[in-house]
């Protein structure tokens, strides 16, 4: 399969304390000009996204697709998956700010699949999602599952 290339562009004006930036999805155009700042990154978001929120969306999206793939391969394609991802950034002594944790909650409506098989598929999805593997460079990853 050919390589996949995706690009995003940012414009930043000014210093950190009073400056602000804008984030655009350059490849797809799916979003553009999303504002962000230091204050809204670490404090109350006030309607503004941040690098960590984008990581949460990336990890949640990557995991959902991996889980759909695992369930399909097991012969039980999902009717519906709901994946919630929470990314935590914290100050680590001697290392500055780091992404320390990604918590995934996967809820599934999967005909013919029981709780144990769903948990097993989620474990396999975590192992195969490229983003799960990468983020372990600085973060722990936890995956919780539930079914209806």
């Amino acid at each position: 399969m050919p390589r996949i290339v995706r690009e995003a562009g940012i414009t930043w004006e000014g210093n950190v304390a009073r400056g602000a930036g804008a984030i655009t999805a350059a490849s797809s155009g799916a979003f553009s000009g999303l504002g962000y700042s230091a204050a809204t990154r670490s404090g109350n978001p006030e309607g503004k996204t941040s690098p960590e929120e984008l990581l949460a969306a990336a990890h949640g999206g990557c995991f959902a697709m991996s889980l759909a793939s695992e369930l399909t391969q097991a012969g039980t394609p999902p009717e519906r998956l709901e994946v919630r991802c929470v990314i935590t950034m914290d100050e680590v002594e001697g290392k500055g700010h780091q992404i320390v944790h990604s918590e995934i909650d996967a809820h599934g409506v999967v005909p013919g699949c029981d709780e144990a098989a769903f948990a097993q598929a989620a474990e396999a999805a975590d192992a195969r999602c490229p983003f799960s593997a990468l983020i372990r460079a600085s973060a722990t990853v936890t995956v919780n599952t539930s079914m209806r």
Partner: protein, 143 residues
């Protein structure tokens, strides 16, 4: 103090024929955004993907870290234009991220700018989280 940021994604159906949505993010800044395997692996057709979201996360983190370093050195940036290009090889994972920045920074020469950009690339939290990417390149110059 720890900072949490949340996103929820829904998916319906198999990987190849199904489709999903980055349904909601905690800030409410964007969404719902559609995602699918064909638009992730082939032409985006207006849809974002995990790789594009990682590009946005990395470029925005890098820009903020560089703005911080420049301000601390007494030469705050007037403007920084950064981009991140993420290369994903199905079956292998993310093989390359190319960071690029053009800066307007009064009172700073090319060498000084390159040094700050290299430091920001190494130190920003997203870079540290993505340290396992085999190749992260940087192209930095003054505008």
């Amino acid at each position: 103090m720890a900072t949490d940021r949340t996103a929820t994604v829904t998916w319906q159906g198999s990987l190849m024929e199904g489709a999903g949505t980055v349904h909601e993010v905690g800030s409410g800044a964007f969404g719902p955004l559609d995602v699918s395997w064909p638009s992730r692996a082939e032409q985006p057709n207006g849809k974002t993907s995990p790789e594009e979201l990682i590009a946005a996360a990395h470029a925005s983190c890098f820009a903020m870290a560089l703005a911080h370093a420049l301000a601390q050195a007494g030469t705050p940036a007037q403007q920084l234009d950064t981009s991140a290009t993420v290369t994903f090889q199905p079956g292998e994972g993310i093989t390359r991220i190319a960071l690029s920045v053009r800066g307007t920074v009064p009172g700073l020469d090319e060498a000084g700018f390159a040094e700050k950009a290299t430091g920001a690339k190494a130190g920003c939290p997203v870079s540290k989280a993505l340290a396992g990417v085999p190749e992260i390149t940087l192209d930095a110059s003054l505008a």
